[in-house]
Amino acid sequence: MAKFHSYYVLCPLIDQNSFLGVNVDRENENVLVTLGRNVVNKYRLSDQKQIGGWTSKDHITSAVIYDTEQESYIGVFNKNTIKAWKDEGENLDKLKKYKFTANILKVIPRHNQTSLIIFENGNCASLPYGIENRKTYESKLFIKESETIIEVGSYNSDKQEYICFILKSKSTKRERYEILTCAVRDELGDLEKANVIREKVSRTDNVFVVGQLVKNDLVFFLWNDSKLSVYNLITKSWKKMVTVPWISTSSCVSLAWMGENHLILFGSNTDEDGAILVAFNVILGVGSCKYPMKMYTKDAKLYCFNKRIILQGSNHIAMVPYVVETDRNLSSLLGSHDIIPDNVTEIADWGTPTVPLFPVGNVIKDLWTKGLTERNLCAQIIPLLIEKNDLKGILEVLNEFKDIPESVIVSLLSYAIKIINPNSIDVTDEDAVQNLCFSEENKEKIELLKYLLQISFSDAIIIPHLRNSFTLSGALFLISFIVHVINDLEIHIVYESKLYDWCILLMDTFYQQYLITKDNKVTYVLDKLQKLTVSLIDNLNTINKAMPVVDKLIHGNQVPEEKALSSYTIELINI
């Protein structure tokens, strides 16, 4: 599912304590490395060449970013000054300075919006607004004095921009963490203070946080017992807890988002004699890949740009290219579902009513706390619900989980087909199938079926289940249904590709039956599927032919009208 390639050195690090961070440049391909107090360099990731850079007499105090809206580089100097510049050759000491009264923590770029200035006191402002009002800007503390902002992220919910801080307070013996979210006003970019929500990060056990990350609307915390908890900022709920393998959680772990449901973690290895880089699938709760390294760096900065992991090493910045795939295959699941024995005993709290940490259904709750994987949970819960014929319940539970065992998928499919009852109609009757699939009364059942087909699975595992508990007529209906969905509905490309996978799977499963039966229905349905496939292939071929032409047009090249040498032409020739 994920694979790391070999490790390169992007650039040497002068002083690892003063290293400030890495950000993306204008082109995805390049990165801005803010090396220390005075140096910013630009590197190309593909060949690790330095392609530009600036030096400054003033101390740089936060990583330089590229602001796509103003099309300029933004840097923070001496904690209170912002400078903006555009070109390679610019002298940073001669730029106009925008001095603020409050100390600036950092500037964060936002997607398709102005960048945000984050002040150390917890306030923030959009870049142009902040610069305009830099003299008068509020310097009042927004967070408690004992608290420091350790992680900042912005996200979007219902067209409203939010900012999220992870605060760490040192007031008591134990470090306490809190998530603070607050709406950000349009344009101005300052906080709507009426809308502040604080969420305590705590567990009943005697554990502490060793790593944290804000990625869009998700906040990840890694605890010292290797458990990873996720807080969803939109639903304001704690999602679940999974165990992270291969990494020691007794010291700090750096986290970054890899994309495609994967986290990367960098920390000390379990023997604590070296470091390790781990890719972790948060949906399946399994480690996808690990990469051992020599030296562990505490609080190493970790990033992920343009299919490459950027990691702060002891005296250099390293780069690790990777590949991630979402498809689930057998090999990636092998051995990943071992249940790690949970040694933590739950301390019963008699008397005082406890607020459940995870607001999930009662059935799930008990199982959750045992630290079972999603697969195990599903396998226990869903068959019960099917027995009860609880369609709503099934849908709810399914929404909760992403990793559903193949056996459950098959029994759910059988169930869905059973309740739709396609035996009442003839699959060769187009209108009847159409009616059945798109009638109002069946809407919910059809939704279930559609949802089921989106779930990823491993085909090697699913085939025996299908053979055991699926009927030929069910398969025929399912194929007709898939053909209808592909033909008549607008669906996402990932879903469509999954539907084709299902077709292949159904073909494989009932291959011999198809061959043996001389049923007209089988021929009809397979013929329908064949037509669909042929039209897909035709379309792909068309795209294939069109692509180079489009590419040429985009690059402003004239498209040569290469005509095949026809067998008959009349030409004007000087003879």
């Binding site: 009208e561 290469e562 005509k563 040498l565 026809s566 067998s567 008959y568 032409t569 009349i570 030409e571 004007l572 020739i573 000087n574 003879i575």
Partner: protein, 699 residues
């Protein structure tokens, strides 16, 4: 003014593989037998030129050919030794052999003995002196078929190759003197071709791709080279025995050279010299023709190569000339195939309201690039690459596509020898070796009807053509000319038979041409295979002998009468003009045209330009336009040119690969029949031996 040229690419006769070859060193004639048992005789004195074709027959086979001076012998799976009549292009004499199917044939140096190797292991020895074929002796029977045989230079030793074995025979007694076993570790080895040197060294090429030298006296192996990755089918040793070429299913041609030790001249070694990669298909035969190597094989091409200078020239397998003819009046095109004819009606182009042609924006049509990069390309003439023809072709919008109107299968599916369509488009005539057929074609609103007409007193012919007014037809058979009158109702009736033996002393008729109606009458010129040309004139009723042209030393490859001047192009690229009215030679032109001598291909037709004083020479690869006067300025490219090319401006060359025919339709319209090389390759059998990532896979 620009000419509207119909480029017609629907003519793709199936190429036929070459089976075997024999080369007459003195006359420089090459006999080539194809898979369909037809035999072609090529004159290779200068540019190779096909002079005669003996039609093949169904189920016939020619496995080996041999020349006895100017007599041609062949043998095949039919088990007979056949002598061919090269005048009537038919069998002259045939004797049955002992031992069923015959695989090989060789004639000794003195041209008195012919040895034939047969399936059952008998070597048949015949005496072939004095124009006879007389049984002389049967050699002792050996086990297994005899696949190749060769006489030594003195003719007293015959060496034969068969499966696992090479034998030396005393040709006088018929007893084997030496047997060489050449199987290798129990693997069966087929000796496909063999050669013997003056010092009795035997050279063999076998199915393992080995070229082996044996001592003919002791039967020991002297040297062996694994020169090919698949069977060696052919080898040829030079006259002075200093070098040899070999090739086969692995179509690389390897040259081996004899190296003499400078200190000890009696010590010699053979070493591998150069390697040529000019074929994709099996090479079945190799011939050394002076400095050129002629290689022939399954691809049907006649390929000439030389080194140095490193050059390659390929003559594509095509139906012999004349293969196409047109009726300009009805825009009909007659195409000749091996045993059928096709009649096509040409398409037409769009014109706008002002009568101007509509030009599709300059789309340069490029033929698909040949994908095998390793194969050596045809050597291009430097002048062709500097050709003045515009790169940008202007193609016209086509309103009507060409239509195939009729396909005529020859009587009893025999090979067609010649055909013509009358200029009026009414009559079509063709001949096989036994029948002449004339058909009248009527077209009524797309319905085509063909009606057979009688042809009296003419059994078959090798050349036939209609006069300009479509009322006369001239045909030739061996050394006789037949003039027939053509009538819609009666058919063709013989008007006059002209025996030409008196004027054309040797050989058979190669070309006949008719002039248009001139003030003096109609001229008829005929040339024979030895290069003699005679002219007849029809003033009123009959053709009268007029004159014989001075004999030139080589064969004319194309002739035309235009404005009472007879133009002749010879295979050595010489080009003559003879004024028929004044009856005097106007001299040759070619020396004064600088780049003319660089031509490699023999012209296969000369077409006068309808509007300019210019002649068009066609060959398989190009159309050469020769202007009588210097070509006006606008033909010259704007860039500065070197002076030597400046003087060539009387010549304009248009490369066409491959040009099958060119005819004028009107003053500004012409048709050009083109056969693309890939169309030929497409119809060939798949390649037996493939080179893939440097690994050799034999199918």
């Amino acid at each position: 003014m620009e000419t509207k040229v119909h480029k017609f690419r629907f003519y793709n006769p199936k190429p036929i593989s070459i089976q075997c070859v024999s080369y007459e060193k003195r006359l420089k004639l090459l006999a080539v037998a194809r898979k369909d048992a037809s035999i072609e005789i090529w004159d290779v004195n200068y540019s190779p030129y096909l002079i005669q074709v003996i039609p093949g027959a169904e189920n016939a086979s020619v496995e080996a050919l041999a020349w006895v001076n100017n007599r041609l012998l062949s043998t095949g799976l039919g088990g007979a030794l056949v002598e061919w009549d090269l005048e009537y292009l038919s069998i002259k004499n045939s004797v049955m052999l002992t031992g069923f199917a015959a695989w090989c044939l060789d004639v000794d140096n003195t041209k008195t003995l012919a040895a034939v190797g047969t399936e059952q292991g008998y070597v048949n020895l015949y005496s072939v002196s004095d124009g006879n074929i007389e049984y002389k002796r049967l050699f002792d029977k050996q086990e297994g078929r005899i696949l190749c045989c060769k006489f030594n230079k003195t003719g007293n030793i015959l060496v034969t190759g068969s499966i696992d074995t090479i034998r030396l025979w005393n040709a006088n007694t018929g007893h084997a003197t030496c047997r060489i076993s050449c199987n290798r570790r129990g693997r069966e080895v087929i000796v496909w071709d063999i050669g013997i040197l003056s010092d009795n060294t035997i050279v063999s090429g076998d199915s393992l791709g080995r070229l082996t030298f044996w001592d003919g006296n002791t039967g020991d192996q002297v040297e062996s080279f694994l020169s090919h990755k698949a069977d060696i089918l052919s080898l040829v040793i030079s006259e002075d025995e200093t070098y040899l070429y070999c090739s086969g299913i692995d179509p690389v041609i390897n040259m081996f050279k004899k190296i003499v030790n400078a200190d000890n001249p009696s010590e010699t070694r053979w070493v591998k010299n150069i390697q040529r990669n000019i074929h994709e298909h099996d090479v079945r035969a190799l011939v050394i023709n002076d400095r050129r190597l002629i290689s022939l094989g399954a691809d049907g091409y006649v390929t000439l190569s030389s080194y140095p200078p490193k050059e390659v020239m390929r003559i594509p397998p095509m139906i012999p000339m004349p293969r196409t003819s047109v009726s300009a009046a009805k825009k009909l095109l007659l195409l000749r195939y091996n045993n059928h004819l096709e009649i096509w009606k040409l398409g037409s182009y769009a014109t706008d309201d002002n009568g101007q042609v509509i030009i599709n924006a300059g789309i340069k049509q490029r033929p698909n690039k040949h994908n095998n990069k390793e194969i050596e390309k045809d050597t291009e003439l430097p002048i062709i690459s500097k050709s003045k023809f515009e790169e940008r072709e202007k193609s016209l919008e086509i309103t009507e596509e060409p239509i195939k109107m009729a396909s005529i299968l020859a009587k009893s599916k025999k090979q067609i020898l010649c055909c013509d369509i009358s200029p009026s488009g009414e009559f079509i005539v063709y001949s096989t070796d036994t029948h002449v057929r004339m058909l009248k074609m009527d077209e009524d609103q797309g319905n085509v009807s063909l009606q057979k007409l009688n042809v009296n007193e003419l059994k078959s012919c090798n050349r036939v053509l209609f006069s300009e007014d479509s009322q006369m037809m001239v045909a030739s058979r061996a050394s006789d000319l037949f003039v027939l009158h053509v009538d819609v109702d009666v058919g063709a009736t013989l008007q006059q038979k002209i025996p030409t033996r008196k004027y054309l002393k040797e050989g058979s008729i190669l070309h006949i041409i008719l002039s248009t109606q001139t003030p003096n009458g109609i001229y008829l010129a005929a040339a024979n295979t030895t290069g003699e040309i005679a002219v007849w004139l029809k003033k009123t009723k009959k053709f009268e002998y007029l004159l014989n042209l001075p004999k030139y030393h080589c064969v004319p490859c194309a002739m035309v009468i235009h404005d009472m001047i007879l133009f002749i192009s010879y295979v050595d690229q010489e080009f003559m003009q003879y004024d028929l009215a004044e009856q005097k030679l106007m001299g040759s032109g070619s020396k004064s045209i600088p780049c003319w001598g660089q031509r490699k291909m023999a012209a296969h037709s000369i077409v006068p330009h309808p509007t300019r004083e210019a002649l068009l020479f066609t060959d398989e690869t190009a159309l050469w336009v020769l202007d009588k006067h210097k070509i006006p300025e606008y033909y010259e490219p704007e860039v500065k040119r070197r002076p030597d090319i400046e003087s060539s401006s009387r010549v304009n060359i248009m490369p066409v690969k491959y040009l099958a025919g060119f005819h004028w339709l009107t003053n500004s319209e012409a048709v050009l029949i083109e056969i693309l090389p890939e169309k030929i390759v497409m119809q060939l059998p798949p390649i037996m031996h493939k080179k893939k990532h440097n690994m050799v896979i034999s199918k």
